[in-house]
C-alpha cells in the first residue's frame, strides 16, 4: 500500500532563512511524488513532481526536492523563505504501476514565516 508521512505538522521560520519540510513515503513500486501548496481559500497548486527522472527536482518559486530511495524520503527545501510562502504544504504519492490516477496526500505541514 502507498502512504506518505509528513514529519512536521507545523514549521516556523524567519523570512530569509532556509525552509525544510520533511516527507517520507511508503510504496511497493517506484512511485511518482509531488508537493502541492495550498494558500488560504485557494486551490491546491503543484509545486514540483518526481517521476523517476532526475532525483533532484526543481519547482516553482525557488522550491526543490530530492528523491532519496534509500531513505524513502522526498523532502522539500527552499534556500530563503519569503512571507508569501506561508501556506499549507502537502506531500503526495501516486503509484507508478498502472494508471489509476490516484493521489494519496499526507496530512500537511503548515509553514509559518515570521518577519
Amino acid at each position: 500500500a502507498q502512504s506518505v508521512t509528513q514529519l512536521d505538522s507545523h514549521v516556523s521560520v524567519s523570512e530569509g532563512t532556509p525552509v525544510l519540510l520533511r516527507c517520507n513515503y511508503s510504496s511497493s513500486y517506484s512511485p511518482s511524488l509531488f508537493w502541492y501548496v495550498q494558500h488560504p481559500n485557494k486551490g491546491l497548486q503543484l509545486l514540483l513532481k518526481y517521476t523517476s527522472a532526475a532525483t533532484l527536482v526543481k519547482g516553482i518559486n525557488g522550491f526543490e526536492a530530492e528523491f532519496k530511495k534509500s531513505e524513502t524520503s522526498f523532502h522539500l527545501t527552499k534556500p530563503s523563505a519569503h512571507m508569501s510562502d506561508a501556506a499549507e504544504y502537502f506531500c503526495v504519492v501516486s503509484p507508478s504501476s498502472g494508471n489509476t490516477g490516484k493521489l494519496i496526500f499526507g496530512q500537511g505541514t503548515t509553514l509559518q514565516v515570521k518577519p
Partner: protein, 113 residues
C-alpha cells in the same frame, strides 16, 4: 487557459437538507476527480471519472452521496441528506488521461448546522 471552476464557493445548510456542488474541469481534461478535505487534513478521493464513466467510486458513501458527469464534461456531486459530519471542503480536480498531474479548483466549503 482557464482553471477548474467550482461553485458555490461557500454553502451553509441545516442538517438533513440536500446540497449539490458543481465542477467544470479544464477544457480537454477527460479525467475528473472529487475529493473531500476535512479541516487540518489532506484531501481524500471520493470518486474519479474517465469521461462520463465513474471508474473509481470505492470511497464514495453511496447511502447519501451521489455524483454524475452525464456528458463527460462538467460534474455534480450531491449529498442527501447532509449530516453534521459532512462539514468540509469539497475539491474538484482534473487531468488529461494518462497524466498524473492534477489541477485543482478552489473548492466548496460546506458548513452543516
Amino acid at each position: 487557459e482557464a482553471g477548474v471552476v467550482q461553485s458555490p464557493r461557500y454553502k451553509i445548510i441545516e442538517k438533513k437538507q440536500p446540497v449539490a456542488f458543481w465542477c467544470n474541469p479544464i477544457s480537454g481534461h477527460n479525467t475528473l476527480y472529487w475529493y473531500l478535505q476535512n479541516l487540518g487534513q489532506g484531501p481524500e478521493l471520493l470518486i474519479r471519472y474517465e469521461n462520463e464513466e465513474a471508474v473509481d467510486d470505492s470511497q464514495l458513501p453511496k447511502d447519501r452521496f451521489s455524483a454524475e458527469r452525464l456528458k463527460g464534461v462538467d460534474s455534480t456531486l450531491k449529498i442527501q441528506p447532509a449530516e453534521l459530519g459532512d462539514s468540509a471542503v469539497y475539491l474538484c480536480a482534473s487531468s488529461r488521461t494518462g497524466i498524473k498531474e492534477q489541477f485543482f479548483g478552489p473548492g466548496t466549503r460546506l458548513t452543516v448546522l
